[in-house]
């Protein structure tokens, strides 16, 4: 039971808003020490346990370097931003009259989900697509309709841009048979003597994918309504900026 202290450290760390890296390290050391603790353990035993925990953390950290490797993407994205990529995205989308924030994010969401379903999970992502393209486009769509955005709505639109990417990815990727989570399920069941084929598993991801599509489509429709009622009225108050559809 003592090893659960590590989870308590994680929860407590987030409640007191400590630096998350510090929380993670503290949770790891707590877990390692709790696992080694017995009433008979003296200081030397506990020091050895701390050292072993740090070593196993270090080994895992080294094995997981590939996770942080993807940051070199930012060198290319930053170069394009320097040349006005975000501004270009705003200009382009502002030129499309039918684009609303909700419709634009819906199109991105559907493309993201469909692409992930055929294994193209790398077409998208927060550093590659959301920050440089999707969020500026969505903000551009709102600015074209409602003029300058208050901070509240600007950050709401940005948050929804990230959400569309995540939800599209999560509930599309499991339809693809060679994705890590499907392979994890297959491997797990095999250790218990149950043999399933990846295709058997991936077809059962389709009903949830459809549910996600329906639910999030409704959410984005509601987002448009919400923005319209918050910003449409505001614009009407500005002289000469009233649009006929915003009445009464």
């Amino acid at each position: 039971m003592l090893v659960l202290l590590g989870i308590a450290v994680v929860v407590f760390g987030f409640i007191v808003r400590a630096n998350p890296l510090l929380v993670v390290m503290a949770a790891a050391l707590t877990t390692g020490l709790a696992a080694a603790w017995t009433p008979a353990a003296d200081l030397n035993v506990m020091l050895a346990a701390a050292r072993d925990t740090l070593a196993s953390f270090g080994k895992a950290f080294n094995d997981a370097r590939y996770i942080s490797l993807t940051w070199i993407l930012l060198a290319a994205i930053g170069l394009l931003e320097r040349a006005g990529l975000q501004e270009r995205a705003r200009i382009t989308i502002a030129g499309v009259k039918a684009a609303t924030v909700g419709r634009l994010l819906w199109v991105y969401f559907v493309i993201r989900q469909a692409a992930a379903a055929v294994g193209l999970t790398s077409l998208g992502g927060h550093a590659q697509m959301v920050r440089p393209l999707v969020a500026p486009m969505a903000e551009g769509a709102a600015e074209a309709k409602f003029g300058a955005l208050p901070d509240k709505q600007r950050y709401l639109i940005r948050s929804h841009s990230a959400a569309a990417d995540n939800i599209g990815l999560f509930f599309g990727e499991d339809i693809f048979i060679a994705i890590a989570s499907i392979l994890l399920i297959k491997g797990f069941l095999e250790t218990y003597g149950i043999i399933v084929e990846p295709l058997q598993l991936s077809v059962w991801a389709i009903p949830t994918a459809i549910a996600a599509l329906i639910i999030h489509s409704v959410r984005l429709w509601l987002l448009d309504r919400n923005l319209k009622s918050a910003l449409g009225a505001r614009k009407q108050e500005a002289p000469g900026a009233a649009s006929p559809e915003a009445a009464p």
Binding site: A28, L54, G58, G78, R82, F188
Partner: protein, 319 residues
């Protein structure tokens, strides 16, 4: 053959350059801390294989300490908003093209390794997408440099501008993966599963299915990763109760159970790369809160979808 090691050498160069440029940045009062942080990461990419497990642990501890003391925000020279607008007007939609090179190369590289004879000899099969992604980044940078002729250091300075806006959160996903390894070794998962099975009456299909799906979501919220929650909750509730005792079909139970975990991923700051990193990248003012804007935007989708998963599993898993 190009292996992950080569990609790590490229990554090491990137982080080492960030370290040097950070150290020279007079605008940043905490420049030495930033420099040391990126230098440690560069050391990890170049020398992680040589300094031993304990060495890597001490290195990680150093990164954590620097992050806890607080990093600064570098101010590399970049273009003004007016210059960017002018450039966007002049270059038109061609500007989008280099951004698409990266996923295109990643995809092409993956397909070449999968479907050609010579592909696996060119790129290490095990890490093909990642290696192809790095190659794609290098090609994209090359194309942009030839086309737009920015200063030679621009890719590194612009990379530093964005990396500093992400800050220590850049390392959270890797740190969480490492925490997962420590949890696994200590048997944390087994304990959680045991607790769960002990206190809930799992004797009807509906309750067992709901307990499994909600348990997947909750444990994912704590761990930040459905992959970590899946073996624990499935061994504790899914297999013994939903499948063995109550007759659920393993394929839909496990497939939908995993997706119930993904609903948890949408609601937790522990899923750093999905929920915290974008809040930093998008410069949300509430990015340090446990429930930042991204998570708040996702919760109203995640909860109905979790309920949908429970209903779907109840309907589909018992033929």
């Amino acid at each position: 053959m190009i292996t992950l090691q080569h990609a790590y050498i490229v990554g090491g160069f990137f982080f080492a350059a960030l370290a040097v440029l950070s150290a020279l940045d007079q605008e940043n009062a905490r420049r030495l801390r930033n420099a040391l942080f990126w230098a440690l990461l560069a050391l990890s990419f170049w020398g992680g294989g040589f300094i031993g497990d304990l060495g890597n642990g001490v290195l990680a501890l150093g990164l954590v300490a620097l992050a806890a003391f607080g990093l600064g925000q570098g101010k590399p020279k970049t273009t003004t908003p007016e210059e960017r607008r002018a450039s966007a007007e002049r270059r038109g939609n061609l500007l989008f093209l280099p951004a698409l090179i990266i996923p295109a190369v990643a995809l092409a590289g993956t397909l070449i390794v999968q479907h050609t004879e010579w592909g696996p000899r060119l790129i290490q099969d095990q890490h093909k997408t990642l290696i192809a992604l790095v190659i794609g980044v290098l090609i994209a940078i090359g194309v942009i440099m030839l086309w737009l002729r920015p200063p030679l250091l621009a890719p590194l300075q612009e990379g530093r501008r964005l990396m500093d806006s992400v800050g220590w959160a850049a390392l959270l996903p890797q740190m969480l993966a490492s925490l997962g390894a420590v949890f696994l070794a200590a048997g944390v998962g087994d304990q959680v599963g045991r607790l769960f099975a002990e206190y809930i009456p799992l004797d009807t299909r509906t309750i067992a299915v709901a307990a499994y799906c909600i348990g997947m979501a909750l444990f994912t919220i704590i761990m930040g990763n459905a992959f970590a929650a899946f073996p624990v909750m499935t061994a504790a509730v899914g297999l013994p109760f939903v499948i063995n005792a109550l007759g659920g079909d393993p394929a839909p139970v496990c497939a939908i159970g995993m997706l119930a975990g993904f609903c948890g991923t949408l609601m937790t700051p522990m899923a750093a790369n999905f929920n915290v990193v974008p809040a930093n990248l998008l410069e949300l003012p509430d990015r340090k809160l446990a429930l930042n804007g991204v998570i708040r935007a996702q919760i109203p989708t995640a909860i109905p979808l979790l309920i949908a998963n429970i209903v779907l599993m109840r309907l589909l898993a018992f033929p």
